[in-house]
């Protein structure tokens, strides 16, 4: 590829200035005239029948403009992938936090006071919290029509697993648990809803899926999707957690009833108990290998808690069953997954989407194999790692793979060999790899891919329209760089429009680490289309053919005689004149070379590209307290090509910080069915002291299917982190961590037991 002017450079985030000086309006900053403040009354019980709701006192409070319950909704059952949601609880509440009623009032205090005046009579029912308990006969049923609380089952099988396990030199068999953690984005979920005279609803909110969400909400409200418009302002983080949620619908219903705009902002407590935390999972794994360390077979059972209604947990459990199979050259794999209803917060997407949970498990198991086979863990990964131009056991076509290079570069940077040789008590080093996707065909239903619109104004200003979502990760900046590169203009000439479903293309959204590749290819196609139109005009002005001209750094010129030139802005001006005011508008789309998997075998290439990574953590364990410090971290990631290296590093560092929090300190705790640590006092996220310096290494094999060769980084940034740390803990102490998060007291006890055994 010829020299790149914009792509591959670390431009500052294009929205950064407004964020640095406080001028950017986040969702929680938006105000409209006559706006009301909404609050939701949430269930105080994990499971209860609603006997009665009396809203009269709330309605009578001065300043209250609307009080709504299930009765004020179209009473339609809906869901992102199911039909077990209602906007408010109808006859039963199914989790602590379930929506029971809502108010809209002239100020926040009045809204809260009104909540206190709503009287609800509940009849408490037995509840079930653990998915294993929920599967047992006689367990309380979360949904009467779902026997055994089974929301979904998943099966996948390829090859001859039992035979392969029998013939293995070693089989490691064990069970693991990954707990429920909360995204803890800094801006709580919030929304502003307004209804116009025709009944059309506009919702401003931080969402990763403006269009998919609109489709779901149309069903819930009994209206055509055309009557819902979603606008996405800058918003404060998501990490998977900002997809469908009842607060948007509640705000819409309040706006309908009151006839005024309604802003509904979750208190942090509400966000904890009604957001979309990670699917907690129990794993049983069998992993076999030959004496030389070649993997033979893997057999896994996954049980994941859906919570009280299905958001995306069934897809996440399925993903946990088999996505990681394409990290190594597996030939024989089997998995069974159970998604189980529980009376807990409905679980959903959080960076990794099941692949993070299963990567922790597999990479811990690999570490165990390495110990038993006496093979270096890095060596074991290289032996088995899937390479470029290979097809995995499930038919995934891996075009580029920088996995091997990631392991080698990470090991070098971390001084792996030396540290493995010179062991110091209570200090350890651990390694973990990961794979991921850049888009997930079966998750998107009607199509996967991306699209874009590139508009060029008379002054040369380039506006990019896409339908994905910048949640702070730098998506818009990456798109601007891609478009600027393709058009041959400078970054300052490009701006990326706010996503507004009335104007933007129908993007599927930012999840599955798809944004840069799918959205990027979409805007790239649109930019090409815009370029071709511009080139036609430029060629005429330069008296050349379109083949003979080029545009770079905002100037069109004849390739053979570059002194014959005209600025992009001038061409834009002339084009607008030529077309009597019509701007140059390029549109385009990207159709990925993917397929829906076979419904039986699940085989099929589901993503155009697969990112890989390798992370190495160093820890120190306090021998007297069991507390773990992560002292050093190296992360090598195959990103195809880093559109923006600085932003890519930022994503890696952020993902590792989250993985570190998950491993060492984060846990949603339940007691009597209620979340008891719904604040940052007792839900502990890493502070600046907890996260070490992280060295990032970008590996760029240049992915043929990616825009300028890019794949994604969002989720791979976190996937390996947990096992890197727990493998390091094993290296430091000989204790295998099989449950997240690490509990210092348990670790201390295990260390003491081990010391006794070694001495005795």
């Amino acid at each position: 590829m010829s020299q790149l002017d914009v792509v591959g450079k670390s431009f500052p985030q294009i929205a950064a200035q407004g964020k640095a000086n406080g001028k950017t309006k986040f969702v929680t900053d938006l105000v409209l005239p006559r706006m009301l403040y909404g609050r939701v009354l949430r269930s105080p019980y994990a499971h209860a029948r609603i006997r009665s709701i009396d809203t009269r006192r709330a309605t009578a409070l001065a300043g209250v403009k609307a009080v709504v319950t299930y009765e004020d909704t179209p009473k339609i059952k809906f869901g992102p992938r199911s039909e077990d949601w209602t906007i408010f609880a109808a006859d039963k509440v199914r989790f602590y936090g379930d929506e029971v009623a809502a108010v809209a009032a002239v100020d926040k205090d009045t809204a809260e006071e009104a909540l206190e005046l709503i009287q609800v009579e509940y009849e408490e029912l037995p509840h079930v919290i653990s998915p294993l308990d929920a599967m047992k006969p006689g367990a309380p049923l979360v949904h009467e029509d779902k026997p055994g609380n089974i929301a979904a089952e998943f099966k996948i099988e390829a090859g001859k697993i039992d035979q392969a396990l029998d013939e293995s030199y070693v089989v490691y068999e064990d069970n693991f648990y990954t707990n429920q953690v909360y995204q803890a984005y800094m801006e709580p979920m919030a929304t502003l809803a307004d209804v116009d005279l025709s009944g059309r609803i506009t919702i401003w909110t931080g969402t990763q899926i403006p269009n998919m969400m609109r489709m779901t909400y149309a069903k819930a409200l009994g209206m055509s999707p055309d009557n819902i418009r979603i606008v996405v302002p800058e918003y404060g983080g998501a990490f998977g957690g900002k997809m469908e949620n009842n607060i948007h619908l509640v705000a819409a219903v309040l706006a309908q009833k009151s006839g005024q705009p309604v802003k509904l902002v979750n208190t942090r407590h509400d966000d904890f108990i009604s957001g979309n935390p990670r699917v907690p999972m129990h794993f049983d794994i069998k992993l076999g290998a030959t004496r030389d360390g070649i993997l033979t077979a893997k057999d896994v059972k996954v049980v994941g808690a859906a919570g009280a209604r299905l958001v995306y947990s069934q897809v996440i459990v399925a993903t946990a069953c088999y996505r990681v199979d394409s990290l190594y050259r597996f030939k024989n794999v089997r998995a069974k997954g159970y998604t189980v209803y529980t009376n807990t917060v409905p679980t959903a997407c959080f960076r990794g989407f099941g692949n993070s949970q299963s990567t922790f498990v597999l990479e811990s198991a690999m570490d165990e194999l390495a110990v038993r086979l006496k093979i270096d863990p890095a060596e074991l990964r290289i032996k088995n790692g899937i390479g470029p131009n290979e097809t995995s056991v499930h038919g995934w076509k891996i075009a580029s793979s920088g996995l091997r290079e990631c392991v080698i570069k990470a090991s070098e940077a971390a001084n792996w060999n030396q540290k493995m040789k010179n062991k110091t008590p209570y200090k350890g080093i651990g390694l973990s790899c990961c794979n991921h996707v850049s888009g997930n065909r079966p998750f998107a239903r009607e199509f996967d891919g991306g699209s874009g619109i590139v508009r060029i104004g008379k002054d040369g200003r380039v506006s990019v329209f896409h339908g994905e979502s910048d949640m702070g990760q730098g998506q818009n900046t990456a798109f601007a760089q891609i478009v600027a590169e393709r058009l041959g203009v400078t970054m300052d000439m490009v701006n990326v429009a706010q996503v507004d479903t009335d104007i933007s293309p129908f993007g599927l959204g930012s999840f599955a680490t798809r944004g840069t590749l799918m959205g990027g290819n979409g805007v790239l196609a649109a930019a090409k289309n815009a370029y071709d139109q511009m080139a036609e005009v430029a060629a005429e002005l330069l008296k050349a053919s379109t083949d003979n001209i080029q545009c770079r750094k905002g100037v069109f010129f004849i390739k053979d005689s570059p002194e014959t030139r005209i600025s992009f802005r001038e061409v834009a001006s002339q084009a607008t004149i030529k077309y009597h005011g019509a701007p140059i508008v390029g549109t385009g789309f990207y159709q990925p070379p993917t397929e829906l998997p076979d419904p039986e075998t699940k085989k099929g290439n589901i993503s155009p590209a697969y990112p890989f990574g390798c992370q190495i953590a160093e820890v120190e364990v306090d021998p007297d307290t069991g507390q773990v410090s992560v002292t050093n971290f190296v992360a090598a990631h195959d990103v195809g090509r880093a559109i923006n290296p600085m932003a890519t590093e930022g994503q890696i560092q952020g993902g590792i910080a989250q993985g570190l929090g998950w491993t060492l300190m984060e846990n949603m705790a339940y007691q009597d069915g209620k979340v008891i640590n719904s604040d940052f006092v007792d839900y502990i996220v890493p502070s600046c002291f907890d996260v070490p310096d992280i060295k990032s290494i970008l590996v760029e094999p240049i992915e043929p299917n990616g825009p300028y060769g890019a794949k994604g980084i969002g989720e791979p940034a976190l996937n390996p982190t947990m096992a890197a740390i727990t493998n390091a803990i094993y290296n430091a102490t000989g204790v295998r961590i099989k449950e997240l998060p690490v509990n210092p007291q348990k670790l201390l006890a295990e260390m003491k037991k081990r010391d006794k055994q070694l001495k005795g």
Binding site: E112, T267, T625, Q671, I684, S687, C688, Q745, L748
Partner: protein, 293 residues
């Protein structure tokens, strides 16, 4: 989070605050920095009908040496105390402890008086003050009264103060000979956490420089109030530094067995007891090593 309505009154001086507080009745509270009180009001744990704010009183933030005592005004902010040269020189254990309270933001407005009156069993300022045998001066409508810190706390969020009294000053005796102290607190991450268990260890050698004349150990977060543990102290008191170093494990064990922690969402009682043992050992070793030099 809505704060329930209340009457807000401003005190122009300590005397004025006392009068207003007395008049306002037992549902009134005094507001210092507010980092505990406003938090509790938001959580609806405390619902005062009257707040008497001390924010205009500027003469209670002092740290002064007078004769053989150090006087700390109750409205002194933790951030200022943490770096105060008088305290750093003579009772650095207090600086260590208040420097670990909350975040910098909390320390910039939170006061030592507020920390004591909030009376969390895990309050970070309490164990060092216990180990320093501090006294607190309480302003009352009938004049000042002085109470030893050891008898100040009655239970979680309970002190001997009556509802019409205001904490005015903390008074500490300056160490006579060389002394050193160490405060360690158990946290769930490396910064900004409440104390799950806290250990303060303060020791002073005698004029010969050989013998530990005073050994004081206080624990936070492992009993209904912060406590001293004299039965652990006596393991080391009066010994030479070298002898004391040998007896540290016994001392730590004694302290751990006196502690009465509870199981809670933050840690088990068992673990807190283990930590008390470990932290007493670490504090003791550090202090005795310092004094040996």
């Amino acid at each position: 989070m809505r704060i329930r309505p209340f009457d807000f009154r401003v005190a122009s001086s300590l005397a004025n605050a006392l009068i207003q507080l007395d008049q306002a009745g037992s549902d009134a509270r005094v507001l210092a920095g507010g980092t505990d009180l406003v938090l509790n009001m938001k959580k609806k744990n405390i619902l005062p009908t009257v707040l008497i704010s001390l924010h205009q009183i500027k003469n209670l933030e002092y740290v002064e040496e007078k004769d053989d005592m150090i006087h700390i005004g109750a409205l002194a902010k933790h951030a200022d105390l943490a770096t105060n040269p008088i305290l750093e020189k003579q009772m650095s254990i207090l600086c260590q402890a208040v420097g670990l309270i909350g975040s910098w933001q909390v320390r910039n407005i939170g006061t030592i008086g507020g920390n004591l009156c909030n009376a969390s069993p895990a309050a970070d300022s309490a164990p060092p003050l216990l180990a320093l045998d501090a006294e607190v001066v309480i302003a009352t409508p009938q004049g000042d009264r002085t109470v030893s810190i050891a008898s100040f706390f009655c239970g979680p969020a309970q002190t001997v103060m009556k509802s019409n009294e205001i904490l005015k000053e903390i008074r500490l005796k300056k160490p006579v000979n060389r002394s050193a102290g160490c405060y360690l607190k158990l946290r769930r991450r490396k910064a900004v956490d409440i104390s799950l268990a806290g250990v303060a260890f303060q020791a002073e050698i005698d004029s010969s420089g050989q013998v530990l004349e005073q050994v004081k150990i206080a624990l936070g977060g492992v009993a209904p109030t912060p406590i001293r543990v004299p039965d652990a102290e006596s393991c080391l008191q009066g010994l030479s530094i070298d002898d004391a170093l040998q007896k540290i494990p016994m001392c730590a064990q004694a302290a751990a067995s006196i502690a009465k922690p509870i199981d809670d969402i933050r840690a088990t009682a068992d673990y807190k007891r283990t930590i008390v043992n470990v932290f007493v050992q670490r504090c003791a070793r550090q202090v005795l090593t310092t004094l040996k030099k």
